[in-house]
């Protein structure tokens, strides 16, 4: 079942990549669709990130105990200034671990 799922994921992804390359001359991407496609990664990635950061336990958590919020905010700033993947991941993880250590010391049971 898992293997069939992985194979189907592969077929879908490959079909998307091959689509226009294989059909060259037979169809073109309509301009409206092309405009919409530009926004796909810009919408999908934040849709994955936001709940992971703001609702790590499945419910919205904006309390001080949720160290993911300030850690992610720092990562956004670093990504914006440096455009560097490693610096972004490194600073976000370091902030998360540091804030957790501080919160544990002040006696909070954090997620």
């Amino acid at each position: 079942m898992l293997w069939m799922l992985i194979a189907a994921m592969g077929i879908i992804t490959y079909s998307l990549r091959l689509s226009v390359i294989a059909a060259i001359g037979r169809f073109a991407v309509p301009p409206t669709l092309a405009r919409a496609l530009r926004f796909v990664p810009l919408a999908v990635l934040p849709a994955i990130i936001a709940p992971d950061v703001l609702a790590p336990g499945g419910v919205l958590d904006l309390s001080a105990a949720n160290a993911r919020v300030p850690a992610a905010a720092l990562a956004v700033l670093v990504a914006w200034r440096t455009r560097n993947v490693l610096a972004t991941i490194g600073s976000g993880m370091a902030a998360l671990w540091l804030l957790r250590a501080v919160l544990t010391r002040v006696g909070c049971a954090c997620p």
Binding site: L2, W3, L5, I6, A8, M9, G10, I12, T13, Y14, L16, R17, L18, S19, V20, I21, A22, I24, G25, A28, V29, A34, A36, L37, R38, F39, V40, P41, L42, A43, V44, L45, P46, A47, I48, I49, A50, P51, D52, L54, A55, V59, L60, R68, A71, A72, A75, V76, A79, W80, N84, V85, L86, T88, I89, G92, M93, L96, W97, R100
Partner: protein, 223 residues
């Protein structure tokens, strides 16, 4: 000529491997942590070969989402590849079908970026260049996945390594927010995703993506 172009393509993606290696390693770690058998985790890298879609799929599978939801999400997350396909197609039309099928398999974000730059600049032997870039990226992705699978069992859950998923996506999306419409798409999608976090089967992700794309189109039309 083919050999020079092949090597030039490989060199063009080298700076991007700095981002690919941790991404692939983290994918391997998370896939094993999510309960995927090591062979299945590696097979996903071979058959799907699409980082963000693999990350999300692993998360969904771990959460017990039905196959239909995993496939629909894969489709949405990878839709952007149609754009890459359309953009490269005019340059590949004179190639034999085998070439086109091969290059389509390697058409990931980084390879597309360097290939379209080469074609746009009128560089020779573009297909060999793209093959060099694609093969280098492919080998790196497979090797770093394997490294992550190997490390996977040894990483304690207390490290919250799953947070690297959000951080990796922040690193990918923030530099590409160049205009108001893109920012609108990102903010609306994020807000809808948080508001729909209780919706079953993780369908909130699809709803949020649709709302974000719509917001981007509306913002662009008004600009």
């Amino acid at each position: 000529m083919p050999r020079a172009a092949l090597a030039a393509g490989a060199r063009a993606v080298v700076p991007m491997l700095l981002g690919v290696v941790p991404f692939g390693t983290i994918y391997g770690v998370l896939a094993v942590a999510a309960g995927l058998p090591p062979a299945a985790a590696q097979a996903m890298s071979l058959l799907v070969f699409a980082g963000s879609a693999q990350f999300v799929a692993v998360q969904l599978i771990a959460g017990g989402a039905p196959a239909g939801v995993v496939l629909l999400t894969t489709l949405v997350v990878n839709l952007r590849h149609v754009l890459y396909s359309a953009s490269l197609a005019p340059y590949l039309r004179t190639l034999r079908p085998a070439w086109r099928w091969l290059l389509a398999y390697a058409l990931v974000d980084e390879v597309y970026a360097v290939a379209i730059a080469r074609y746009g600049a009128g560089g020779p032997a573009g297909q060999w260049f793209a093959l060099g870039a694609g093969a280098t990226l492919w080998a790196t992705w497979q090797a770093s996945t394997a490294a992550g699978i190997f490390l996977g069992a040894q990483v304690p859950p207390g490290w919250s390594l799953d947070f690297t998923l959000a951080l990796t996506f922040i690193a990918l999306v923030v530099p590409s927010l160049r205009d108001r419409a893109g920012l609108a798409a990102a903010l609306v999608a994020g807000a809808v995703a948080v508001a729909t976090v209780g919706v079953p089967l993780r369908l909130g992700l699809i709803m949020a993506a649709a709302a974000g794309i719509l917001a981007g189109l509306v913002a662009e039309a008004r600009a």
